[in-house]
Symmetry: C2
Subunit: 123 residues, 2 copies
């Protein structure tokens, strides 16, 4: 069985639970730095492409089309690993990020967007 | 203006975009290790409580109630920072995690759930 065996891939996809809109959230983490880069959405086909092609692919909710990260911007994401969570309704993608992950040009989509939360301290 | 100033908090909440179900995804990252621990959901009130109390609070979609992480399990999450993403529709919470983040008892919800993706390599 190879990573690309179609039956094995479909079995893995069967373990996932997509929402009412057919999508689940995918967190992307920089495999080198550990920084959380962004969150985007995948349907089954986008997850299939991400698992089998080495390039992270999303479903764009705003454009209603598949979106292989970097095809327009050059800011490609190369898959290092993909894991699902305990409920199978979230993916964690570790990736090599070329250039900026965020369309604003910042490295991550969270840079400079701190909300000033009250810090909690364990007693 | 303090972190708890009610007007400032509401202005920050106004910058967020919640989905049709009134929720947005919150990624939780271990502030010490950088590991992504889990993803859960917040409505405006859960986000308000997370920003102002020092304890991470979600909206449980399965139980349809507020869920202050650790109240039952003891596995509390203490807020270190909260950031929104460029679209304001995802939160990244950095937290001190007491015990296991996952209800299965594993440290993160993604442990041992690798999907065997094909690895991509930049040329």
């Amino acid at each position: 069985m190879t990573a690309n065996d179609p039956t094995a891939v479909e079995q893995r996809l069967d373990a996932l639970t997509f929402g009412p809109d057919g999508l689940l959230p995918a967190i992307v983490q920089d495999d080198a730095s550990g920084d959380v880069l962004m969150l985007a959405w995948m349907d089954r086909e986008a997850a299939r492409r991400t698992l089998t092609t080495g390039r992270v692919t999303y479903w764009s909710r705003s454009r209603q089309e598949y979106w292989r990260k970097g095809d327009t911007s050059g800011h490609r994401q190369y898959v290092r690993s993909v894991a699902m969570d305990c409920d199978g309704d979230t993916l964690l993608v570790r990736a090599i990020q070329i250039g900026a992950a965020c369309h604003t040009g910042s490295r991550t989509c969270f840079d400079g967007r701190d909300l000033g939360a009250v810090v909690g301290d364990p007693e």
